[in-house]
């Protein structure tokens, strides 16, 4: 360290430049060789302070956070909660004022762009779709596009009153059942090897066994899942041996249920389920079951994003399906993913 560094006042303000609307945005102020009396942070919606670290007394008034007393000198940590807004992108300014004991103040501004995804759908002409059973070609597909930024995870299902239903292929369901059973066995041995992680392994199993699609969970359950997912990643990263054993447990459970030929088939299915750059289909293996040459279908689309926020459910108008014979085809074929 240079001698000059010991006396030169320095400050460092951190705020990420971009973020997904709905995620926690961190910020901090670090300083050295300055007599700081208080720190003021001015922000705008959709940001609001969530947690403040190293502050003894603070107050929040009119989008102004005033930290009047610090616990230790040299540091303030912050966490902002952000939320969804109507605009797909919004730029928010955050002002930092460091008030010094000599009456002077250092003022700096940082900006963050907050974005979100948004689904856009275009119905087929006259709401009619024709399927060629020989080629699997679908004429008159619904156009679907993410016009915002960030991934959208969508789950498409037939409504209860829909004449045409969706079905998950039986071999896939059997695979899931056997996989979950074998995984349970693997995790049991893991629990014996790592008893302190048993509660987390129990939680993991409970989520794996939950027959519902993740996207069908309510807000409280999603938050619970989100906490669990963060916890799992954190615990895995904190113990090398556990991480290795965890990866092996999944691999073993998969290997027990998957011949190589099956793995290759899954590559094909996985490739086809990568429907679009910014849209992920949560149920890519589900199929439309057209029981006759003609049928009507009503679909609903549930959506979420990378922070598991809930989006408005989309109910689609009735669509007429026509095929020269009864057929099954993957639901993603009904859409033109753009």
């Amino acid at each position: 360290m240079d001698m000059q560094d010991l006396v030169t006042p320095t400050r460092l303000i951190y705020l990420p430049k971009e973020g997904l609307q709905g995620e926690n945005i961190p910020s901090h102020v670090l300083w050295q060789n300055m007599q700081v009396k208080s720190v003021e942070v001015t922000y705008q919606p959709p940001l609001k302070p969530d947690q403040i670290f190293n502050a003894r007394h603070w107050e929040v008034k009119n989008h102004n956070l005033i930290i009047k007393e610090l616990e230790l000198d040299g540091y303030i940590g912050l966490s902002f909660q952000s939320s969804k807004v109507a605009d797909l992108e919004t730029v928010v300014s955050v002002g930092y004022s460091i008030h010094l004991s000599n009456g002077k103040a250092i003022k700096e501004t940082r900006k963050i762009k907050l974005f979100r995804p948004q689904l856009e759908l275009e119905m087929p002409q006259a709401n009619k779709v024709v399927i060629d059973p020989a080629t699997g070609f679908v004429k008159g597909r619904l156009r679907i596009k993410n016009i915002g930024r960030g991934a959208l995870i969508v789950h498409i299902s037939a409504t209860e009153d829909s004449q045409t239903k969706f079905e998950t292929p039986r071999d896939y369901l059997e695979f899931v059942q056997k996989f979950v059973l074998d995984l349970e066995q693997e995790l049991k041995s893991l629990g014996k090897e790592f008893p302190k992680f048993q509660p987390l392994l129990d939680e993991m199993m409970a989520w794996e066994e939950d027959p519902r699609d993740f996207i069908e969970l309510n807000t409280a359950e999603r938050e619970e899942f989100s906490r669990y997912a963060e916890k799992l990643a954190s615990v895995l990263a904190s113990d090398k041996q556990l991480l290795q054993s965890f990866v092996e447990a999944y691999a073993k459970a998969l290997a027990k249920n998957t011949e190589f030929i099956e793995s290759v088939r899954k590559v094909i299915q996985a490739y086809e389920s990568f429907v679009s750059k910014d849209i992920l289909l949560a149920n890519p293996f589900d199929e439309v079951c057209l029981a006759d040459k003609k049928g009507e279908i009503r679909m609903k689309i549930l959506q979420t994003d990378r922070v598991f926020d809930k989006y408005k459910e989309i109910m689609l108008p009735k669509i007429e399906l026509t095929c020269s014979q009864p057929c099954h085809f993957p639901i993603y074929r009904l859409f033109e993913w753009r």
């Binding site: 990420p16 995620e23 960030g150 954190s234 904190s238 113990d239 290759v264 590559v267 996985a270 949560a282």
Partner: protein, 334 residues
């Protein structure tokens, strides 16, 4: 390791942690407090400073005390016994007048009931030593302790001009408590796990023709009607003339190997306060893992936090262009 043996019949400082305290001793503060109180009870010694370092991946705390000892220390105390279930190592050093480790001064004893104690024998310290350091390593049993100490956040979506950067952040929540408890406190290798989406590179780089060929092979293999199998021969002949025909197995194996931690690490750069640690195949929360081509990789990066630098920020750069080139090379069958 020493087998169980009785200590000489001399004055012994012993502070056992009772069953409730034993539970507490597993956490971060209690073992350190137990050791500090043990020294506080020894007359005429003075703790000059203390420091703690948590090694996050190993879940181990290294706690050290610097203690001023009186000249007659070797005669007034014969044995100082340190015992708590989570303690895995105890060592002592003389700091003054000459710094040196005094391994022989600490002896580990395992009793028949499995209890382990560490005994520090003052008489084995250098005769002229007036300042010693005692270091205790103990494990933390609470896998969620780190969340109580550190706020960790990460970008869920990439940003930057090429949309391939993920920010990461870690900050101490209660630095004052740590300073009050330990004086000097270091947190080594705090982890943040970022989900790096890879499906787009796979979707845009794996040629649809390759997938069509695989699908057609499967369709013909699954066909039980010999007439239909015969009818498929011209198409199979045509497919067999395609550039990478016959190399499907090699291509899939090579593709899968791109996601091995050692290989995928080449496509990750971690800058600023964080550094790359490890990666593994991730799975979306709504699906079972796909063993050959995952949709995302979980990348663990690490940073150190101290009371002098209680916050760290970093950027994970996913070199998607290079990764796309690697997928292209695999798909060429070379």
């Amino acid at each position: 390791m020493f087998s169980a043996m009785p200590f000489p019949d001399l004055p012994t400082i012993r502070m056992e942690v009772n069953s409730m305290d034993v539970d507490k001793a597993k956490s971060l503060f209690e073992v350190a407090e137990y050791v500090r109180k043990l020294w506080d009870k020894i007359p005429k010694t003075r703790i000059l400073n203390q420091e703690a370092t948590i090694n996050v991946p190993e879940s181990i705390v290294e706690y050290s005390l610097a203690v001023r000892i009186p000249h007659n220390f070797r005669t007034i105390r014969k044995v100082i016994e340190i015992s708590a279930p989570s303690i895995i190592r105890v060592s002592a050093s003389s700091l003054h007048p000459l710094p040196r480790t005094v391994r022989e001064a600490v002896k580990k004893t395992v009793y028949e009931d499995g209890r382990v104690t560490y005994a520090l024998f003052p008489e084995l310290l250098p005769p002229d030593s007036d300042l010693i350091s005692v270091s205790i390593s103990y494990s933390i049993d609470d896998p969620l302790l780190l969340d109580d100490l550190v706020s960790r956040t990460k970008a869920h979506e990439p940003s930057g001009t090429e949309k391939n950067e993920y920010w990461m952040h870690a900050a101490l929540k209660h630095p004052k408590v740590l300073r009050d408890k330990f004086g000097v406190f270091d947190l080594r290798d705090v982890d943040v796990t970022v989900d790096v989406g890879v499906h787009n590179e796979l979707k845009t780089t794996i040629p649809p023709g390759f997938i069509r060929r695989l699908k057609r092979f499967f369709a013909v293999m699954g066909e039980t009607d010999p007439r239909k199998q015969y009818a498929a021969i011209p198409e199979l002949r045509r497919l067999a003339r395609e550039k990478t025909a016959g190399k499907e197995f090699k291509i899939l194996v090579d593709l899968e190997s791109l996601f091995m931690p050692g290989k995928f690490a080449k496509y990750i750069d971690v800058i600023k306060d964080f550094r790359y640690s490890y990666c593994y195949k991730g799975k979306e929360c709504y699906e079972l893992p796909i063993e050959i081509i995952p949709k995302k990789m979980n990348v663990i990066s690490r940073a150190d936090l101290t009371l002098e630098k209680p916050a760290a920020d970093g950027v994970l750069v996913y070199k998607n262009g290079l990764f796309t080139d690697a997928v292209k090379e695999v798909m060429s069958g070379a």
